[in-house]
Symmetry: C2
Subunit: 106 residues, 2 copies
């Protein structure tokens, strides 16, 4: 498994609503994530809207993104989420910045 981390920027005026959506992610969306290799997937939010994603996957970050790209439910979910992110309404999954792992201890 590869460990992946990425960041996104949530609009600071919309943090509460963003949180609420993530307490009730659609079951079809969860199934699609599982099916396309998003394991131990967490999203963490900092007070200023910095969003951090962490997950483990058998392939690369791009392969995991490509897998979701082919899931119809992902298109609907990303359309719902787009207004919450900085970046003029572009889909979040095209704006993620991947970080480099520089240390790991099991």
């Amino acid at each position: 498994m590869n460990r992946i981390a990425f960041t996104l920027q949530v609009r600071p005026d919309m943090l509460d609503e963003y949180r609420r959506h993530h307490e009730a992610v659609w079951p079809e969306m969860l199934d699609a994530l599982r099916r396309t290799g998003w394991h131990r997937y967490s999203l963490f939010l900092r007070g200023d809207g910095l969003l951090l994603g962490y997950f483990e996957t058998p392939g690369t970050f791009q392969q995991a993104l490509d897998g979701m790209e082919n899931e119809e439910v992902n298109e609907r979910w990303q359309a719902l989420m787009a207004p919450y992110f900085e970046g003029e309404g572009k889909a979040a999954d095209t704006q993620m910045i991947e970080l480099d792992e520089v240390f790991h201890l099991d």
Copy 2:
């Protein structure tokens, strides 16, 4: 296990040296981390120096920090690392910002 994420800011002019230190973390430091409940611990670096930590621990973030506070090797490691972080030479482990987990999928 609780999943913890935190951020720190590495000085952008010192990223390469910071990386090199983390390819060879002292074995006594790794032992102290294991002993004090830092499991699946990764550090990820963004191009601008944003550093993200992720780990899993049986207690709280503060308990894991307090555990390391009592390890003599941690004091030496933090003194070595302090110049690499923004924040006027203060120890990194006093400057970490904890993020809130807003979503998780096993």
